[in-house]
Symmetry: C2
């Protein structure tokens, strides 16, 4: 009874089951629901938002399972955990490299695609280290 129209083949419940199985993640009911919600489109959700969504949709899920599942998904590279403001973690279903706008007023996060940013100079990584990734957050305020 979840979305499963042909046009949503890879984002509905069945498509999500595949994606989980492919990662050797057992597709339990809760995991599939969380995946169907979060992976249906590129978006940024908090654990609490996911819990609220699922419960208001009638699902029986515990807070612990939401956190366990999000950490599990992140460990398998299905989602990415963001640290944008200190208040809580945000989970990004877009795992392709990209950056973010952060609206300081609304708290909204907006994806910035890689080609929109170009570095003409970057510092060398300190000796013995290499760059594992670059996080770029462009803070936005209301224009005066």
């Amino acid at each position: 009874m979840e979305l499963n129209a042909p046009s949503a083949a890879l984002s509905g419940a069945t498509g999500c089951e595949r994606r989980l199985s492919d990662c050797a993640i057992r597709p339990t009911a809760q995991r599939v629901r969380i995946a169907a919600l979060l992976l249906s489109a590129p978006q940024h959700l908090s654990a609490e938002q996911i819990l609220a969504h699922l419960r208001s949709a009638g699902a029986r899920v515990s807070k612990a399972t939401v956190y366990n599942t999000l950490n599990l998904f992140a460990a398998h590279g299905l989602i990415r955990q963001l640290c944008v403001d200190g208040s809580r973690a945000w989970f990004d279903s877009n795992v392709a490299p990209h950056y973010h706008f952060h609206d300081l007023e609304s708290g909204a996060l907006i994806d910035v695609p890689i080609p929109a940013v170009e570095f003409s100079r970057l510092p060398p990584a300190p000796p013995g280290t290499e760059v594992a990734g670059i996080d770029l957050v462009i803070r936005l305020r209301k224009k005066m």
Copy 2:
């Protein structure tokens, strides 16, 4: 009895009192000690680290005062609060614009000066907004 050698004129307790007064921040004993610790050099400290430092130095300070003071300093632009990992806030005594290396193994933060990074392209801010700041964190792992 705090540092007050000529060579530490602006980082010792007396210099800190000046910096606080200049911001219309009443230079109480606790605030001066926190400022003397944090503002003595460019560094990144957590609230808990500051509390531990001060207490092991024999100061009587409460956790609430440390947090109140750090928030106060940040509100006056004396320090900057960083969100690098989700675990806790880091307070940066370097308020000049700059970026950071973040060593994923040790958790260490290293300043990256502005001239070390050059953007040859940046996305336009969405309509009605303007860029308030850019946070760049270069994650480092051990070189293989």
